[in-house]
Amino acid sequence: MGVYAITGASSGIGAKTKELLLQNGHEVINIDLKDGDICVNLASLEGREEAIRKLHEMHPEGLDGMICNAGVSGACGNLPLIVSLNYFGTVAIAKGVYDLLEKKHGSCVVTVSNTISQGAGRKDIVDLLNNIGDEKRVLSLVDSMDSTNLSVGNSLYVSTKYALARWVRRISSSWAANGVRINAVAPGNVHTAMTATMSTSAKMALNALPIPTKYGQECLMDPTEIAEVMVFLASDAARGVNGNIMFVDGGTDALLNSEKVY
């Protein structure tokens, strides 16, 4: 059985993914701020370095999979955290364990979001993230933004996830040529502890993003639905899948963007 590392597996989609991997008999290392096997803050440079170092110490023979799932929503109220955790933390961890994945011809799965298709992101920020990649400069820019404005947080969130999806696409060819696949999962709105207690207006906003597979049910995706696809993408059964942004949103993206077949 394989060895898989996963970020943000103490709750939500990550916890379900960990559970499924364990059920399949794999060893799973959870990297999270709390309750992890490796407890670090992936929004910080030091936290990322510590996680990468520990993974190398624990499994110098290599990893079968790296699942980069940790992230925060646009409503977290902390704009620097959105940038540092969602984009820079994810890219740093994936790159940091690339040599371990290469040793075992493993695969990497990154969690993005189906909001990347809904046009709320800022292309200038996406370009700064992908093309410049200077965390300090992006954080300086973010400092001037209004963190109390929910639409600003959402736009920044979408930008980080869009940049992440584009990074996956860009890096996928060379990684695959060296035996390491990388794909992304783009989940729709998922039922979590946070969504269970959200306000009526917030629920109405979520309901305005209909999930065709849940038609008439007024409910969100179950974390297991996302986790099952993540486990599939990380497995050898998906050996032909690389550089793919797989929407696991019950069809919301197809509903709103039916003409975008590529």
Partner: protein
Amino acid sequence: MKPIEKYIETMENKDFAGLAELFTKNAILSDYCSTTASQEEYHIYGKEAINMFFRNKFGFRRYSIMEAEVVNDTQAEFIANFGGYNIMAIATVREVDENGFIERLTVRPK
């Protein structure tokens, strides 16, 4: 009321559920105006999809119509607003089934 009149009424009221109920199960609603607003065309297949699609568009204020005028038994003109971008449009009910439900409706720039 004729189907085109009901269509205009539900669109003006942002009544996505009522709008969907005007269509047959396998109806097709095509809107070619969106390309003028730098968006992809809309081709929505099936009444449930029409319900969900306009729930989204109305909910996030990305689509509305104003100054509507029914011009004949099957057509109406209006200004379509795509998230702030206004386009003069003409909607045509192209096919209706024996029970008066819309099978096919197209919206094109006028």
